[in-house]
């Protein structure tokens, strides 16, 4: 019974983590789908958002969840700025290696991380909210439950926000004209131009949107995670693994990929050891490349 309890508890925390991972993966997969470039500054953008949230909490006493109202627009603007001033000129430059754009985003990530270290030092920061260690218990609702599970309050709230934001994005992509234009650009750039879609603008909007999504993730992570400048690199890798796992450029895939990765990491941490969680992450990645190159999206298409 205890074993089952541990297993279910691990599953629950894995799913909660996976929901937030999905949000990070969604931003990356959007950018990848529309612009065909991999944004290796993705985690660093989230780190920037986390610092914004941290200072708002620290200086103005804003609740981390209220900072969403600031981080999301701020990161959108930052994303648009990066796309317009740096990435779009490189797309026009002719060079031997087309991977230049990827290397460029690495450079951007390096600058962001180093600037954060300069301005905010590499100290570990946190936002000590008073509900940080609160939890809901299964026995609160179900008296005679044979097993006991706990649901950490900040994790559940963050997960709820992540689901709401994902749903909003879904609605935006499926129902609005701008969303349809973005999907058209992702499917076939030339055809989209012929249909009168302003592809240039859609690219800029997409990068902004991807940055805004990961900015939201930053605000949602800050109540639970310690913040330090090198955090960004870790999340860049996570975002990338999720996108490969989900299938490149697929939004449903990114959501499922995020959940799978969250559960897998939490399982590795419980059953193998904390330090091995990153290895588990990459084992998923390698296994996915070998056995399932199209990711979850490829699997769904085959059915």
């Amino acid at each position: 019974m205890v074993q089952l309890e541990v297993f279910l508890q691990t599953l629950v925390s894995g799913l909660l983590l996976g929901g937030l991972y999905a949000l990070i993966g969604l931003g990356m997969t959007l950018i990848m789908g529309v612009m065909k470039i991999i944004n290796l500054a993705h985690g660093e953008l989230m780190m920037v958002a986390m610092y914004i949230a941290f200072w708002l909490f620290h200086l103005l006493g804003m609740d981390p969840y209220v900072t969403l109202l600031v981080t999301v627009p701020a990161l959108f603007v930052l994303g648009v700025f990066i796309q317009k001033t740096l990435i779009s000129p490189v797309l026009k430059v002719d060079s031997i290696l087309p991977e230049n754009q990827v290397i460029l985003t690495v450079g951007i990530g390096m600058v962001l991380q180093n600037l954060a270290t300069l301005f905010f030092t590499s100290d570990y920061r946190s936002t000590p909210v008073d509900y940080a260690s609160d939890a809901w218990y299964l026995s609160d609702w179900w008296r005679s439950s044979p097993i006991e599970l706990s649901f950490s309050v900040p994790w559940v709230v963050s997960f709820g926000f992540a689901v709401a934001i994902t749903a909003a994005l879904w609605w935006f992509l499926q129902r609005t004209d701008a969303g349809k234009a973005i999907r058209a650009t992702a499917q076939d750039k030339d055809a989209a131009i012929l249909m009168g879609v302003n592809v240039e603008r859609m690219t800029v909007v997409t990068f902004g949107l991807g940055a805004a999504l990961v900015g939201a993730a930053g605000s949602l992570f800050i109540p639970m995670y310690y913040l330090y400048p090198a955090l960004g690199g870790r999340f860049t890798l996570i975002a990338f693994v999720i996108t490969i796992l989900g299938g490149l450029g697929s939004t449903q895939g990114a959501i499922i990929g995020g959940l799978i990765l969250g559960v897998f990491e939490s399982m590795t941490a419980t059953y193998v050891g904390m330090g091995w969680a990153p290895v588990g992450r990459f084992l998923v990645f390698v296994a996915c490349l070998i056995f399932l190159p199209g990711g979850v999206a490829g699997l769904m298409r085959r059915r």
């Binding site: 490189v90 430059v93 290696l97 991977e99 990827v102 450079g107 990338f240 050891g273």
Partner: protein, 328 residues
Amino acid sequence: MASAAQTLGRYRTAAAVVVGLAVIPLVPGLNSSYVLHMLILMLMWSVIGMAWNLLGGYCGQVSFGHAAFFGLGAYTGGILYYHLGWSAWWGLPVGMVVVALGALGVGYICLRLRGPYFALGTLAMGEVLRVTAENLEWLTEGTRGIMLETRTWVAKEPFYYVILAIAVASFVVLEVMVRSKWGYYFVAIREDQDAAESLGIDTTLYKNIALVVSAVLTGVAGAFYTCYMGYIDPEIVFALHDVSIVAIMVVMVGGVATRWGPLVGAVIMILLSEVVRTLPYIGRAHQTLFGILLIVIIIFLPNGVVGDFRKMMRFFLGRSKPAGAGGV
């Protein structure tokens, strides 16, 4: 076959550079241990740069994970020393075998990917090895790292000549490979893999050759690093930013797919990082400056200092002098 004299004639610049480098430790004033340390680092990075250039520049497979091979080489020497009591120099020959096997493994997984996905696959490989080295404490001593109790020589000169020999050997290997028909196969794969395949080039085989040779050279540099620095830990030798990305930067700055690009790039990068490090306060911002340099190079000099030399000269001379003088 060309005679020795003809070969020497064709590589007059190369010969001059090698002779020049070989006599530096004999020149009074230049043979301080600081200068030699800089030169050793420059040569080491030029070896890594040349290795990366073979795979990335000529064959078009951009790797973000050369730290994996550097670290494997470094740890082979370190582990032989720590557990078996052998000299860490055994890391050079043994490391070549270990790294070659490792590269075949990486190739099996990553070479099925193309373009940016290959880049990210190799990046993940480097990170996997770093985390593994951190956690396999019985073998690697984890984050405590491995320290050599004594280094072979106190003076820098012997290390300098060893790395010079490695650099010359790497240069020769690359020249031979790139000028042979393999070199044309590599470039064909870079330009259009499907077209190369349809012309009968076994792309998997040649990509693997480029990867293994590139990895082995990087591994040799890693094994040399262990012997020279006397201390390694996973954060240093498997570093993403300080090894894998710097390897890319050395080549990007110097010039992708050029003969002298890696050496020029290594000299620029080492000098730059030294200058930046000595500046007060700005020293901590060295990654910002590197990042900005990388961005500027990619936007304005996508073929590096060597590849875009004419363009750079036009930019500097063309503005200040009348148009006629710029051509000289």
